[in-house]
Point group: D2
Chain length 305, copies 4
């Protein structure tokens, strides 16, 4: 019941065609539709009509992100829980997003917009569901070819309240948190609803900003392949392949043509309902984020869209 | 709510000390306790007191397997649902299993015993939960060193009814099924409650038998390392490293000293509540199970405990 | 001075176009020329005009294999050493092979033909030699996409004499040998001139037969990718991914459309001039060849072309 | 004939016991002997008595490096060629290095000392040479556990002359070179005698300095494992896991307790006698050295010992 996954992210991009080229040829998503200044994309291992929507805009950033919910009636229930928490909600009409039904839109305490939706066209994968091969024809894959959208990391001023909202209204749990050294303030929060290390995360910073959207790749060699492809295509890499302390995942960070940060992310531990929240103290955050470098880098804190 | 994971498997072994040596030194589990002819073991990445119980017995096999549930009241609710389905249940007293509270025991339509439990001592991992390293000290790891127990595959006569039981009483979903070519009979069923490819699976065969218990390793290199360690220790390998069509996972199969089949399993796709069940027809089962060999092997069907 | 590498193998194939399709689309070689019923192919990481020649023939097998030598005058010197050893030689005229100069052809004590050549057209790689990327454009790679031809394994009756020929006439060394348990007879011999585990090897069997030709892939994930591609293309896999005891390499074996055995081979230890010959006794040959299975398989001994 | 490999490097370290701890526990070499303020070490996959000598000293750096030659008479021949080139040589007496015979010592045009030696005690590997396992008992491996010493990179003023010396006197070849943009001056030179991408390399800088000594690890996962181990042991990592453009290898750079730079290096292409020298122009050197970052880092140019 409730949220089943981070289903989609709508990104604002400043040159739509150049961005479509980037997200299809270099990231390797498939274009599945266009409508009203928006291009819809999905990864090869995703079944639904889209997981990324590119929106032509004057500035980069994230318009909103969306969670797919299990049942249609979850929309009503979660809407009520959100309102009870004190969050403003409204309804997005059937068909506003290509291939989708109605959605509940709400504004997080950090100023980000979230949509909850249930109905979305099911396109399936190239492998089909009858005696399928495990992968598509290699020739049909392009670029990094991630399996799926994995998570978003956002910035906001009140990390504690947004964490409480996810736990109380959307039934998420917290896998990791970053605390100031005096233990007084939560400055990072990693939240999960699936069994992954996080589906959405927040770090203290300006409200309503996107830090990065992450795509899932299978393993450490695929992180290397991603980095190799990025260099060949002259895509700016911000953080070369490394491991996260937080989540234990393997990673490379880079930027789309509008400056939205992307991540190719592999592995990461599994979480369950009884996962004990891991605590990082701010003085160790360098090692928590970049396990090998053991220090933050300036752009990683400052480049937000 | 409800089942959060396959929490433990109690295996019958014929030479307890030799089995403890195998499961600690070659598999690489940690012994966490002993009581009444049983030895309790956990993997390094598991938090609870145990995930494997070895029971001294006259014949190999699986005594029962257990699901950890999220809340204490889930025991009552799932007990009622199981009884409503027509399954016999009874209660296992507090403390019958070392470090555990009360459990609900039920007998599946395939003759296997399942226990549902909530209370279990939390031992934690060697990394701790404060600014943790992603892994334990390398020197403390032994053998294959899987992250955790992953799934069990069992045999039984009535695959359809046991599938229905998991879906209706325990809120599982079916990721894949194997059907006779005429489409009349379900002869394989893969069921998930987490986001993995399966938490428990059944194939048609004699009731109450164990096909294998699987441990999760991180990647294809760790499958190779597992196979290398097995050869060095002269452990019989039944199926050398390969890929599954079903689940897409990477695998190696081998036997414990009593003849219970083990698997080291990596990757496999993610499932969600809206995952469409994949169908295999019996004529393609060879490719489904051993993607590279594309044929079954006799022992794989016959060696059951 | 002398032999610098296994430069090429000419394979007899029974359906030339089907074989070209296999070697270009599934193995992923590039066609570089055609002449007189022959098709010339190279791997992307090779500089010379060809490393595989496919010859339309009535039966499968190996026409000959060739070593590239460092200097033109090595042809004369090695020809003399071969004749001194007692081996029959003759000259292949300039231009008999597309893009090549003259060659010295000789018949091994096992009945196989070897050609020594120096002059061959240099085609280069797609990366070029000025500020090159490490790899070609991913879109230009097809199939398994090995880096290069690696080695051949041949059968013959007199393994000892052919070993002596390689050591005495061609300045090879022996990395490993398989001896009967009584130590009386050499039944396997692995020979190197480069720093690899072997460039050519012989096992006891019928004279003048090919056991397999091996292509080099980078790592264990590429062995998996090779096996996945083979299954998708319904190419018969004889031995699914595993490790060799001999050479320590990672491997998968399969057959071309004519029944010539191919191998995708990764890693393997490095050898040097002072490498001590490793000895295997016949009773351990199963583990030596298939480290995980620890037993031979019948086809591996019998399927020769 | 001639040089068969980079056989050993003698490093100056400022705290011998701390360095021995680092090279044995974190790098994972084995201590094989001690004599006169020196500790001798070998990697598990090396046969000779030592490949690293640690020398207690007042400053960090490289005392000398050594090439093992194939035959005793190579010492005389290479000594003559070196003197003919104009390089000063002298003899190191039998037994000066533990377990070794006589050596020829010469001073390179860059001020570095090289020793040529043939006789060295053969200790063998833990696997032995009779029906060996491919690897030692896992429990006996510690830390990064590289297979062997791979190469050294040195700085010097006259890169062209030292390159000419290696080619003319020691029969090396050049795999890659870095040229100023005007093509006038060689500022980097990568030289090989084996089939690896380089056995020794020079970049323009102060004479007689060590840039780094590299150890060979098997693959990209082992580079990750190396980086994980370095962080756990709080060893300073200078360059986190990435790919080289030059050599195509996978790498991580870090420092020993005295500040000598080490590298864990995997893969890299194969070279042969006919390998065409790859040219880099200085403006592309960032991409050549750090393929993903595409820029140098200051410490990489300045931290020399």
């Amino acid at each position: 019941m409730g949220v089943i996954r981070l289903g989609r992210v709508e990104l604002r991009v400043m040159d739509l065609e150049r961005s479509v080229d980037y997200y299809t040829r270099i990231i390797g998503l498939e274009e599945t539709g266009r409508s009203e200044g928006r291009v819809y994309l999905k990864a090869w291992d995703e079944y639904d009509h889209h997981s990324i929507i590119l929106q032509q805009a004057d500035s980069a950033g994230m318009d909103h992100f969306g969670f797919k919910v299990e049942r249609l009636e979850d929309l009503d229930e979660l809407e009520k829980k959100a309102e009870y928490f004190g969050v403003f909600t409204n309804r997005i009409s059937y068909g506003t997003r290509l291939g989708e039904g109605q959605a509940v839109r709400l504004e997080l305490p950090t100023g980000h917009f979230v949509e909850l939706y249930h109905e979305i066209e099911h396109l399936g994968t190239p492998m089909g569901t009858l005696n399928p091969h495990p992968f598509p024809e290699p020739e049909t894959l392009r670029g990094i070819a991630p399996h799926r959208l994995d998570h978003v990391l956002l910035t906001g001023d009140d990390v504690e309240t947004v964490t409480r909202f996810f736990i109380e209204a959307l039934d998420f749990r917290q896998s990791e948190k970053i605390m100031t050294v005096d233990g007084e303030m939560m400055i990072g929060s990693f939240l999960f609803k699936t069994n992954t290390a996080h589906d959405v995360a927040f770090i203290k910073g300006p409200d309503a900003k996107l830090h990065h959207a992450a795509f899932f790749v299978d393993n450490w060699y695929d992180v290397l392949k991603a980095a190799d492809i990025l260099t060949r295509n002259e895509v700016p890499i911000e953080v070369t392949p490394t491991r996260h302390g937080i989540s234990r995942g393997e990673t490379v960070y880079f930027f789309d043509p509008s400056g939205n940060r992307n991540e190719a992310f592999a592995n990461g531990y599994m979480t369950y309902a009884d996962f004990p929240t891991i605590t990082w103290t701010e003085d160790k955050i360098g090692q928590g984020i970049f396990y090998h470098r053991r220090a933050l880098i300036e752009s990683f804190q400052k480049a937000l869209t």
